[in-house]
């Protein structure tokens, strides 16, 4: 005999037996277009939403707690599991925050910077392709999903050739990158970049003038600029509301101040405008990587910063010099001890502003590490954004916020 389920249902102060014509439905957490584990409790009047309560926490792994009990280098692979669509951007955001905490951000060698920036932009392309694929699938365009995933696979092949992993890259280290680019990698990358614009044209050809696509995206999920500011939106959610703000341009890090690229902005504030921005950002990423490829050849082969207090010496030194070996031993067994103080370091991840707040007490373990994940803030806006829309638009709006649950629940 089957056991009765003893879980007491918790219905968020919503009663199911009501006098009026309203209906309460539960969207998720196992809904295919909930982009992970999003549970939405929707109160409907007919097909119109009158109240929406997003519920998260189904993927909570306590990453901030884990960080407090790990040395800085140990935590880096964990950041892969936040925004697993673009893992390198998390690795980078964390590594960059620790570098700022240590005050060594200017010590990072130029070759490492070139490689990091290429990887960041490649990750942006991967993330945007994934977004378009899943969003189009949610809205009902199956073939776009297949085309996008095909193109994403080739980009993942490139990442795999560089660091050996396809999803959880860990391809950035505190103070540089672990590996140089393999032989012929840049050629493969340029072949990929030459193919990509035609593919983007193909997607746009399928979607731009598509009647169903436009009907389901235009004037759906309108976020006025004031609302976007008040809810702490960032990235495309902010630029889709007509506010020109990109951290790569405004507070440049890595090589972005030397690169020439545009920040697309949409003033329509709706899902369709945001879709156009994603397309344009991919083109800008191609443009950025194309400028970076010739930069690589002029750099010296050094890959990691030379700060013996915090960063291990290169392998050759460790093998030949006694003192380097001793320092390496201390850094591996005890971990680096950053100065006492705190930093908040924002970076522009494909989803928006990804920031790390680190409080250090001079110990090898961070005293407090707070992750400012863009998706967390973009999910909370749903409670204001959804009321007034129809049930069918919920899928479009969740899709266009581009949320990933790895970084919402952390």
């Amino acid at each position: 005999m089957q056991q009765r389920n003893r879980l007491e249902p918790f219905f968020e102060n919503l009663s199911f037996d009501r006098e009026d014509n309203r209906m309460v439905i539960n969207f998720g957490p196992q809904h295919p277009s909930a982009h992970g584990q999003l549970r939405l409790i929707l109160e409907l009047d007919g097909e119109k939403i009158v109240k929406a309560v997003p519920d998260i926490g189904y993927l909570h792994r306590g990453m901030e707690k884990m960080a407090e009990n790990m040395i800085y280098n140990e935590f880096l692979p964990t950041t892969d599991r936040m925004d697993y669509i673009a893992a390198t951007s998390n690795n980078y955001a964390f590594a960059f925050a620790v570098e700022k905490l240590l005050g060594i951000e200017n010590e990072v060698p130029r070759r490492a910077k070139v490689i990091r920036t290429i990887l960041l932009e490649l990750n942006r392309i991967i993330s945007h392709l994934f977004w378009l694929a899943t969003h189009a699938l949610d809205v009902g365009a199956m073939s776009v999903f297949l085309y996008c995933f095909r193109e994403r696979e080739y980009a993942l092949d490139l990442i795999e050739d560089y660091c050996g992993a396809r999803l959880t890259h860990s391809s950035v280290r505190i103070g540089g990158v672990p590996l140089d680019l393999p032989e012929g990698w840049l050629e493969k990358l340029s072949v990929y970049l030459n193919n990509l614009p035609r593919q983007i044209e193909l997607y746009e050809g399928l979607l731009d003038e598509n009647r169903i696509w436009r009907m389901r995206l235009e004037n759906v999920g309108v976020i006025p600029p004031e609302m976007a500011k008040s809810w702490g939106c960032s990235g495309i959610m902010l630029r889709g509301s007509g506010i020109e703000w990109d951290i790569r341009k405004e507070e440049p890090y890595e090589l972005y101040d030397e690169l020439d690229f545009d920040i697309p902005v949409s003033t329509t504030c709706d899902s369709y405008g945001r879709y156009k921005l994603y397309m344009e950002e991919m083109r800008q990423s191609i443009r950025i990587i194309r400028q970076l490829i010739p930069m690589y050849k002029d750099t010296k082969p050094q890959l990691m910063a030379r700060v013996p207090q915090y960063i291990s010496a290169p392998k050759e030194d460790i093998m030949t010099q006694n003192y380097s070996l001793m320092q390496h031993f201390v850094l591996v067994t005890q971990g680096m001890r950053p100065p006492v103080g705190e930093v908040y370091v924002p970076t522009e991840s494909p989803k928006g502003e990804l920031g790390f707040f680190i409080r250090s007490e001079g110990e090898p373990y961070p005293y407090r590490l707070k992750v400012r994940a863009p998706s967390f803030w973009h999910t909370s806006i749903l409670q204001d954004l959804l009321p007034g829309h129809y049930l069918a638009d919920v899928v479009t709006i969740i899709g266009s916020t581009n949320i990933v649950f790895g970084e919402i629940d952390r």
Partner: protein
């Protein structure tokens, strides 16, 4: 022999060795006068509010205030000084050191391209005023802060746990929170869903993802009992040399052909 007493106010992992003579360096606190924008902003704040300290650390202005004026100051920063976005809000646990929480608000001004961090300290049993009416984005952050630290936020529209289950006991990000679960936590789901008597049926949780029970041929692949392809299940098992890395996984797999097809049309 008596067990040594260990204080429970901070049970987090600690460095196993620290040099007696080692003094941790500090990130310098730069005077606000070094930066024009921050200097004028601090001056305007000081005219209206009584602040404890203001300095620049790693390029961002840090303002330390009394927790009572948090909402008024954020209103002022938003409306008068154009710090119009709240980017981050959370707390740090200093209960072990001084019985206090430090709460920080990370603000951004897009017109000035500047970031400000407002910090205040409250005692363990004190509550903080919600800034939800200033920035709507504080809604979930304050809920998360309540969930993780147990800091009560006054006048919050819907103060409820966000990430943890509603009936969770304890606040995970406090330093007193244990790093390993006790028995009740281990059996939490089983007890809730099936009842205590089901503990024996389900058994303890297996946390090794690579674990294979060799004798269990029902639930897992016939590990170490493999038969040739197409042969009946009870025929003679074959030896598989799983440690030979050179053996091709798939006979027809050609590395060169499978990657980077030239797709120029």
């Amino acid at each position: 022999m008596m067990r040594p007493y260990r204080p429970k106010d901070n049970v987090q992992k600690k460095s196993y060795y620290t040099d007696r003579f080692w003094v941790a360096p500090k990130i310098p606190k730069i005077d606000v006068k070094e930066d024009e924008v921050f200097a004028s902003d601090t001056k305007k704040i000081k005219e209206k509010f009584d602040i404890k300290d203001a300095y620049i650390q790693r390029g961002q202005l840090v303002v330390e205030i009394d927790p009572k004026i948090n909402k008024d100051l954020l209103f002022f920063l938003r409306d008068e000084l154009e710090y119009d976005m709240l980017m981050e809000l959370s707390a740090i646990d200093y209960l072990a050191q001084s019985g206090e929480f430090e709460i920080f608000y990370q603000l951004l001004s897009m017109s000035k391209r500047k970031r400000v961090r407002v910090k205040c300290r409250i005692k363990e049993n004190e509550a903080i005023e919600s800034v939800n009416s200033v920035f709507r984005s504080a809604d979930w952050s304050e809920r998360e802060m309540y969930d993780m630290f147990g800091i009560v936020v006054n006048n919050h529209p819907y103060l409820k746990r966000l990430l943890m289950p509603d009936d969770w006991v304890g606040y995970p990000l406090r330093k007193t929170y244990p790093l390993q679960g006790d028995e009740a936590a281990q059996w939490y789901e089983i007890d809730k869903i099936f009842g205590k008597e089901y503990r024996e049926v389900v058994g303890p949780e297996m946390r090794d993802p690579a674990y294979i029970n060799e004798n269990d041929t029902n639930n897992f692949a016939r590990y170490k009992h493999e038969v040739p392809k197409g042969a009946p299940a009870d025929s003679e098992p074959i030896e598989i040399d799983s440690f030979n890395e050179d053996a091709p996984l798939v006979e027809t797999f050609d590395l060169k052909k499978s990657k980077f097809v030239n797709r120029d049309r």
